[in-house]
């Protein structure tokens, strides 16, 4: 890959110009996945990948045009349903479960002959910030294998950073796309709530969940977002607002764009992260954007609001795992109550049980008003505060995570400490906004630092435009391609 051109376009050109066949390309990826120590994949689908690659080769050799994503090797987080291919959410509860339909996002990409290499590791049911809650063990950070890839879409980020997938789709309920993208030096987009169909995404917090791409550069993220976004009759929270075409706006002039920086995002952040963000702010100033710091005091409520709402929704969504219709079922039981309770107790991991308990607590009679109702009202307050900010600013800039990737077992002791690491990412989900995380530096240990650009609803074009301009301005110096996996 040269300069700041996208990797997808580069591989597309190699395929079209017959420098490599799609089958050869796919086999390279499959071989590297087998050698990999990252634990990024939990199931692979070699046969399907090769079959798709052959189809693409046939098209090319018969002189037919291929679209940008055709033949590009990719992966999906293991909570995105794939017809006939195991989809487990990295939970014992769903081991062996093969969905009987495709998630809309996968249906779209499959229709485009995307080469699915496999399903990527994640925290069980997307609950976690390190991928360590996976029943398959955590995914490693390709920059340093002793550190986590982040979570919950850790496997997608680990694979893309380790060059064993060109891009992948993750899901973001409280930062699960942006945080691992930040930890692995990648670009990750959490789209506007409703702009990408959630049909076939195994539910965690339905008013917060959103599918989005992780790739190694902004252009690739734009290409993938443009192909997966849009209204879907199968998702009752799908938006009819026509998705914006981000790819063709990447190079728009950003002079005079107003970037707001909420001071509260900088409380207690790591010094290296702060310095990198300050440098990025200077870069935007040099590019002609207008920068202004402002107060967003409502941010201090977002973490408790998030955990109350997310857990309440999770406890309800996870009620479906009863051992009757699909998934794990306990072996010995004496009545139906025992069957359900034993199934759930044996099938769910520790963090999932904790969140079911918390969700049940905040929804139970006597506590509903004090917690759930209050959190919902505050959610309204937070949304209003963001809307007010967007009357003044085009985009909000903030760190993605207060730190860089932590070492394995660093956060598992105290759940509240782990929850606090999500402080910068959750406000976006609470307000249903789009945000992209992109690399903006390295810390003293050479681990990547990420910043996020947060846009008003349905302004993916604007945030990706600003992200792309930054990538160009810094000559992609923070997009460090690691010496592992498939290099083309």
């Amino acid at each position: 890959m040269s300069g700041t051109n996208g990797k997808i376009r580069h591989i597309h050109d190699l395929l079209v110009n017959k420098k490599i066949t799609c089958k050869e390309l796919t086999e390279k990826y499959i071989d590297k996945i087998k050698e990999s120590k990252l634990n990024a994949y939990v199931h692979t689908c070699e046969d399907l990948a090769i079959k798709t690659a052959e189809k693409v080769d046939e098209k090319i050799s018969s002189g037919k045009e291929i679209s940008m994503l055709e033949g590009i090797p990719m992966n999906l987080k293991d909570n995105i349903s794939t017809d006939g291919i195991e989809t487990t959410c990295c939970s014992k509860m769903l081991q062996g479960y093969k969905p009987i339909y495709d998630a809309t996002v996968w249906k779209k990409l499959k229709g485009d002959n995307a080469v699915l290499l496999g399903k990527a590791n994640m925290d069980e049911f997307a609950m976690g910030s390190s991928c360590e809650n996976s029943c398959f063990g955590g995914a490693c950070n390709p920059h340093n294998l002793k550190h986590v890839a982040g979570g919950s879409s850790g496997g997608v980020a680990s694979a893309v950073g380790g060059n064993i997938a060109v891009y992948g789709l993750g899901s973001d309920t409280g930062g699960s796309i942006r945080q691992p993208a930040s930890f692995c030096g990648l670009v990750g987009l959490k789209p506007t709530y409703g702009s990408v169909s959630r049909y076939g995404l195994i539910a965690f917090g339905s008013s917060l969940d959103q599918i989005g791409p992780i790739a190694s550069n902004v252009e690739d993220v734009a290409i993938v977002y443009d192909s997966i976004s849009g209204y879907d009759t199968k998702d009752s929270t799908s938006s009819k607002v026509a998705p914006n075409d981000t790819f063709n706006h990447l190079n728009d002039d950003i002079k005079g764009m107003k970037i707001g920086i909420p001071k509260e995002y900088f409380d207690g952040i790591n010094e290296d992260v702060k310095n990198a963000i300050d440098e990025a702010i200077d870069a935007y100033k040099s590019m002609g954007a207008e920068i202004e710091y402002f107060d967003l005091p409502e941010l201090k409520y977002t973490l408790p609001v998030y955990y109350i709402i997310a857990c309440a929704e999770a406890s309800s969504n996870l009620g479906r795992y009863d051992g009757i219709r699909y998934g794990y079922k306990t072996k010995q039981y004496k009545d139906i109550e025992e069957m359900i309770c034993k199934t759930r107790s044996e099938g769910f991991g520790e963090e999932v049980k904790r969140r079911i308990l918390l969700g049940t607590y905040v929804l139970s009679s006597g506590y509903y008003d004090a917690y759930y109702k209050k959190a919902q009202n505050l959610r309204g307050t937070i949304i209003k505060a963001f809307k007010r900010a967007y009357e003044k600013f085009d985009v909000i800039l903030a760190p993605t995570v207060p730190t860089t990737a932590f070492e394995f077992n660093f956060t598992s002791m105290d759940p509240v400490q782990t929850y606090l690491t999500d402080i910068c990412t959750v406000p976006v989900n609470i307000a249903g906004l789009p945000a992209v995380s992109l690399p903006c530096g390295f810390d003293s240990k050479d681990l990547p630092i990420g910043m996020q650009l947060i846009g008003n609803s349905f302004s993916e074009d604007k945030i990706l435009n600003l992200a792309y301009k930054y990538e160009q301005y810094t000559e992609a110096k923070y997009l460090k391609e690691l010496d592992m996996g498939v290099r083309l």
Partner: protein, 93 residues
Amino acid sequence: MVTKEDIIKLAKLGKLYLTEEELDSAVKDMTNIIGFANEISKVDTGDTEFDNINGLENALREDIVEESFDEDLILKNVDGGKDGFFYIKKYQN
């Protein structure tokens, strides 16, 4: 403060069995988490309520009958079920 009895009640509602050890750690964790959640309980939100996100409300499709999944397909994940039904072992009280 969350008590052991609270957790036992919640576990029952959430259809979970907890071991003695799990119970103890749940009491500790939940006390911390609830303490953290309490930060919002005293905030005055005035008359602000949460309505919807991005103007989305019940974006339902037209109520037209469409083809759905085959029974056999749906039962595939439970070893085919039995006689077209989901099947659980017979039990007696």
